[in-house]
Symmetry: C2
C-alpha cells in the first residue's frame, strides 16, 4: 500500500528501483507474485513492490484481498498493515541508522554539504579486519540480531549507536544493507562529523565482489533530484538535496502576497514528477462506505472554488538563532522560512461530504495526508491533523489547485496541495495523493519523530519523542525584516529608525498588535499594521507592519542598537523574550522576540 | 428593555428604585405610562421603568410595540434601541463620571475601602461658593451642557475630567445628579484619591433642601449588597462590595476539582435575588422566527445533560504582580483568581437547535449574554463571544445548572450560568437571563471598555478602548502555589525543593509541559502533570503539577532563591518572562513566568 504511488510517478520510481536491481545483483532477492513483483528476501522477510503496469486500484484491491477481507478493512488495521509492511519492506533496503543517514537526519545542520567522494579516507578497506559478504551483513537487520551496515569497503555494527537514539522506526531503515542509496537521497548528511562517528563502529571489510556491485549500482543510479525544478536564484538555499531555501527578508515584506518566485521552499524529499493524465486523489478510512478515487478534473469542477489567504511557516523558521545558543539539528533557517499566498481549491469538508463521509463516526480522530514524494523505502511524505479541526464545518482546509491564481508550482505541490490554514507548514502536504480518515496520527516520521519541541533540559541522550505532541497550530510570531542584522542605518529627517516586518499567529488567531523597542523594552512603540479585514479567530494571513523608533540624543554615529519586535495575537498570546529559554534539540518553534543589531550611521 | 429583569428580582429592584423616590423628592420626575411606570424627567428626557407586576413577556411586547413593529424587529435595531434607551435612561440617574464612581472604576484597586462617612472633609459646604438646586445640577447632564454632579453639599463640574477619559458610555452615567447612589453600589471606589480628584472640580454648594432630601434617601436606602450570600471565611476578599475573593493558593491545588467553598468569586455587582418560580431564559435576535422563552424546568429536562470540567480564570488573575511595576486599575488579585469545577447543563447549541435557530444566518456574528445582576442604570451585566466559536457544532458551551453535581451556588450564578470553556471568566455570564444572536458585540461596559489589554506604552491619557479586542480565550498560564512567596523552605531528604501549582491555557489548548527553575532558566526541571485524558485541543480543565528542584551545594541555610515556573500549551505557546513587558493599564492577562521568592531553612 505504501508503494502504491510508485505507479504514479514512474521516473522517480525508476530511479529508486534501480536500487532493487542492486540488491538483485547481491542475490538476496527472489520470486515475484501477482501483477506487481513481490520480492521475497532470502535473508529476511523482504518484500518490495515494483512494476509499472498495474493500476492503482488493482494494486490496492490485490493488496487488501491478500491481507484481509474487504469488510474488516478499516484504517486502524490498515495502519497495522502499514507498520508491519513498512517493517518488512524496510528490510529490503537493508539498514542504516537514520540518525546517520536517513530521514531522522534529513534536516541535520549541513555545515559541510559536499560530495561523498570528498571523504575518501572513510570506508576504505582496512588490513587485518574480517571480511563479510553482503549476505552476511543483511542478516544483521534488527536489534536482536544486531544492526550492521556497509559503506564502501567498510562494515559497521551500529547497534550501540542505535540504542543511544531511541524513537523512530526510521532509525532502522537502513539496517542490514549499504548506506550509499540513503546518501544519494539525503546528500545533506554527508558530513565529516557523520563519517567520523561511523568509523567508531567499524567491524570489518565488505567482500570486494559485493563492494563492486554496490559501487556499480551507485554510479549508475540517476540523481533522484535530477528532475527538481529550476528555482529563482534570489532564493537563499539552506540545502540543495532536498531543496530548501528562503528569500531575502527585505524582499519578503515588500508584498502582502508573496510572489511564487520568492515563496520559501521546504522539501523533505525529491520533487515528484507527476503523471498528470493519471493523477488521482484517494480517500479512504473510517466513515466511508468504500474508498473513493477522485480525478484532478473532478476536484476542480465538482466543488465550489474556495479561496484562503494563508501564511505557511516552517516549524524551523528562525532556527539559526537557536544554533547561536547551542547547536541544534536542522536546516539553519533565518527568519524567512515563512511566506503568504492566496490558495484556491475545493474545501476539504465539501469533498468529504461528496464522498458521503459520516462525519459523526467516532473512530475518526485524525485525518492523514500522504504526498507523492517518497523516501528510499517508498514511504510517502505524510502528516495528519486532528479531525476536530479538519472536519469542523467552519474549517478552511483546502485541497488547493491554485497558488496566487495560477497552477501551484512544482516546488509547492503541483497539482494538489493540502492547505491547513494556521497549521505548521509540515502538515500542508504537497503533491497530495491520499487522505485517510483514521483513529490515529500519521505514522510518518515527520509526524511522530520530528517537528516536536521539548524543554531545554532535553537533548538527544534523554529525548522521548512520544512525550510531546506533534506541532500543529503555531504560536504568535513576528520578525524585523528591515533593517537587517549588522546593517548600518541612517536616521531619517525626524531622527527615527524605520522598521518593517511581518507578524503571524497559528490557529486562525489574528495579530492584534506589534510592539518594537530599541532599549530592551523600557520604551515600546506600537507599529502600524497592514492586514486583512477578517475575523479575530479566522485570520490565516500574516500581518505586515511598519514602525518608527525615535532616536534619543545619545545615539551618535557609530552607536550600536539592538532593535526588537514582538507581537500579540487575538488570544493575547505574546512572544516570549529570550531564545535561550526556547532552545530545543530540533530547533523548532522559535518565536522569541526577534532581535536585529544595527549601527547608527 | 434593559430594565426588563427589574421585574424578576424584586428585592434588588426595591433597593434601587428607592433612588427614583429620591429623585421624585427632588421633583425632577413626573408621569407614568403603561403597566410599568415611565417617568419623564423635567430636566431632560428621563425615562425609567419601575413596576413589580407586569410579566416579562408583556413588558417586552409593550416595549417593542411602542418602538417598532414586530416584523422589523432584529437585533441590530434592538441594539440601537438599547443604546438610545440606555442613553435616555441613564439620564434619569443624573450623572457621575464613572471613572470616579461607576463601573469604569468598578475594579479600581481599593487600597482604602472604607465607609464614605470616614471622609467627612469632602463635600462640605464651602462659604462663598454659589448655591445650586438639584434641578439646576440636573440640567448639566451631557458634554454639550457640561457635566455636573453633586456629592453631599458639593456641586462639581467634571466636564474637563470626562474629556480626559474618552471611551465608554458609562462615563456619563451619573451626569446631572448625585453621586451617593453610585457609591452605594460601588463601595470599592470610595477612596481618598477619588475624593481628592473630585474636589479639584468643585464649583458650588448644593441647595440645603435638596442636600437633605438626598441624604434622607441615602440613609433610608438599603444596602444593595445586603442579600449577598454568606461566604466561607477561608476566602481572601479583594473587595467586599461587590464581593471578590480568592482562596489561599496552597489550598487551591489540593484538589483537582475545586470545592465550591474555595472557588474564587468575581462579582461585578450585587448578587441578584432570584424569583425561581418565575425564572426564565429569553433567546432572541437574528436567525430566529420569534423570540423564545424557556423555563428553568425546560432547560433541565428537554436537553441531554452535558458535563464539562472547565477552569474559570479572571482576566485580572495575578494583577498584584503588575502593581509592583507600576500601579494599575483593578482588584489586586494574587494568583488564585482561578478555579476548576465540573459544570453540567444543556449544550448551548442544543438549546438553539430547539429554538429552530438558522445557524447559517450570516447576520449572526456574536452571541450576547445578559445576567440578572444590574448596575444603577438597570443595565444588566453583559458579555458576548464570537458566534464562530459559540455556535460551532463541536462547541462545548453550556447553559449550566450544576456545579460539582449540585445546584450552582448563588455566588457562581444560580440558577443558570453560561459556561464558555476556555474563555475568560468575564464571558461566563452568571445568573443568565437572556441570549441574543447579534451582528455585534455586547454593548456592555465590560465587553467594550474593560477586559482589554494594551502595550506598556499606553496609559489612561492615551488609551483607546476601541483599538484592542475584548479578551476572550486566555493565553497559557501557570503558577507556583507551594511554596508561597516569602516562605522559609526546608529541603527534603534528597536535598530537593518540592513545588506544586497549576497550569492552564484558554481556547481548549491542553497544557503539554510545565518547567521549573531555581536559577532563572539556566537549568530547567520538567514537572509531573495531573490532567484529564482529553484531546489536545478540547481540554478545558487545568493541569496540576508537581516538581522537585535539586538543591546545589551552595544552598546553605538562609540562602535566598527565586523559584520560577512556566508552561507550554498544545500550540506551543510559552509564557513570556517578565511581567514588566506585559504591564497594561488594566492589569489584565498577566501570564508572565510566575516567580516565588523563598529562603532555604
Amino acid at each position: 500500500m505504501l508503494s502504491r504511488n510508485v505507479f504514479q510517478c514512474k521516473p522517480l520510481v525508476n530511479r529508486f528501483t534501480d536500487w532493487t536491481l542492486i540488491h538483485r545483483h547481491l542475490a538476496i532477492w527472489s520470486s515475484n507474485s501477482g501483477g506487481g513483483h513481490v520480492l521475497n528476501g532470502v535473508a529476511g522477510q523482504r518484500h518490495v513492490f515494483v512494476g509499472h503496469t498495474r493500476s492503482v486500484a488493482n494494486f490496492y484491491s490485490t493488496f487488501k484481498t491478500r491481507h484481509k477481507t474487504s469488510d474488516d478493512y478499516n484504517d486502524s488495521r490498515q495502519s497495522d498493515d502499514n507498520r508491519e509492511f513498512a517493517k518488512r519492506f524496510a528490510l529490503k533496503w537493508g539498514p542504516v541508522l537514520a540518525a546517520i543517514v536517513g530521514t531522522t537526519v534529513a534536516t541535520v545542520a549541513a555545515k559541510e554539504e559536499v560530495n561523498v567522494e570528498e571523504f575518501e579516507e572513510f570506508g576504505r578497506e582496512i588490513d587485518g579486519l574480517k571480511s563479510y559478504t553482503a549476505e552476511e551483513v543483511a542478516k544483521h537487520n534488527d536489534m536482536s540480531r544486531r544492526v550492521w551496515v556497509s559503506f564502501r569497503s567498510g562494515v559497521y555494527d551500529i547497534t550501540d549507536f542505535v540504542a543511544q537514539h531511541p524513537g523512530g522506526d526510521k532509525i532502522l531503515m537502513a539496517s542490514g544493507g549499504a548506506l550509499e542509496p540513503f546518501w544519494t537521497l539525503f546528500a545533506v548528511h554527508k558530513t565529516r562529523e557523520v563519517f567520523t562517528i561511523m568509523e567508531k563502529y567499524r567491524i570489518g571489510n565488505l567482500d570486494s565482489k559485493d563492494r563492486n556491485a554496490i559501487k556499480a549500482g551507485t554510479d549508475s543510479t540517476p540523481d533522484p533530484y535530477a528532475n527538481d525544478p529550476i528555482r529563482h536564484p534570489i532564493l537563499k538555499a539552506r540545502s540543495q538535496k532536498p531543496f530548501n531555501a528562503e528569500p531575502p527578508e527585505e524582499l519578503l515584506v515588500q508584498k502582502f502576497i508573496t510572489p511564487k518566485e520568492l515563496f520559501f521552499v521546504r522539501n523533505h524529499l525529491p520533487v515528484p514528477e507527476i503523471d498528470i493524465e493519471n493523477y488521482t486523489l484517494e480517500i479512504e478510512g473510517f466513515g466511508l462506505k468504500a474508498p473513493k478515487t477522485l480525478t484532478l478534473d473532478e476536484i476542480k469542477t465538482k466543488f465550489p472554488k474556495h479561496t484562503v489567504v494563508s501564511t505557511i511557516q516552517c516549524g524551523g523558521n528562525r532556527r539559526a538563532e537557536m544554533n547561536k545558543i547551542k547547536e541544534v539539528k536542522g536546516l539553519s533557517w533565518g527568519s524567512a522560512a515563512i511566506s503568504n499566498a492566496k490558495w484556491s481549491g475545493a474545501r476539504l469538508v465539501d469533498v468529504l461530504k461528496y464522498c458521503d463521509l459520516d462525519f459523526d463516526d467516532k473512530n475518526i480522530k485524525h485525518v492523514q495526508f500522504d504526498g507523492l514524494d517518497f523516501d528510499v523505502s517508498s514511504n510517502p511524505y505524510g502528516a495528519s491533523v486532528e479531525a476536530l479541526k479538519a472536519l469542523n464545518p467552519n474549517a478552511d482546509f483546502l485541497i488547493a489547485y491554485e497558488m496566487n491564481d495560477e497552477d501551484i508550482p512544482a516546488d509547492h505541490g503541483y497539482p494538489l496541495r493540502l492547505i491547513a490554514p494556521g497549521v505548521v507548514g509540515a502538515r500542508n502536504v504537497k503533491w497530495l495523493a491520499r487522505i485517510v480518515l483514521s483513529d490515529e496520527e500519521s505514522h510518518s516520521h515527520w509526524q511522530r519523530n520530528d517537528y516536536k519541541s521539548f524543554s531545554p533540559n532535553i537533548d538527544w541522550h534523554n529525548v522521548d519523542f512520544n512525550s510531546a505532541p506533534a506541532i500543529q497550530e503555531l504560536p504568535i510570531q513576528s520578525a524585523i525584516c528591515e533593517p537587517r542584522e549588522g546593517q548600518t542605518v541612517a536616521l531619517d529627517a525626524n531622527r527615527t529608525i524605520q522598521l518593517s516586518g511581518y507578524a503571524w499567529s497559528g490557529g486562525g488567531r489574528k495579530v492584534i498588535r506589534v510592539d518594537v523597542t530599541a532599549d530592551e523594552g523600557v520604551n515600546w512603540v506600537t507599529a502600524e499594521l497592514e492586514q486583512e479585514d477578517s475575523p479575530l479567530n479566522r485570520t490565516y494571513s500574516w500581518t505586515l507592519w511598519k514602525a518608527n523608533i525615535p532616536a534619543p540624543k545619545e545615539w551618535k554615529s557609530g552607536h550600536k542598537v539592538e532593535l526588537i519586535c514582538r507581537a500579540a495575537d487575538s488570544h493575547y498570546n505574546l512572544q516570549p523574550e529570550n531564545v535561550r529559554h526556547l532552545w530545543n534539540l530540533r530547533g523548532v518553534v522559535n518565536n522569541s522576540w526577534h532581535r536585529v543589531n544595527v549601527t547608527i550611521k
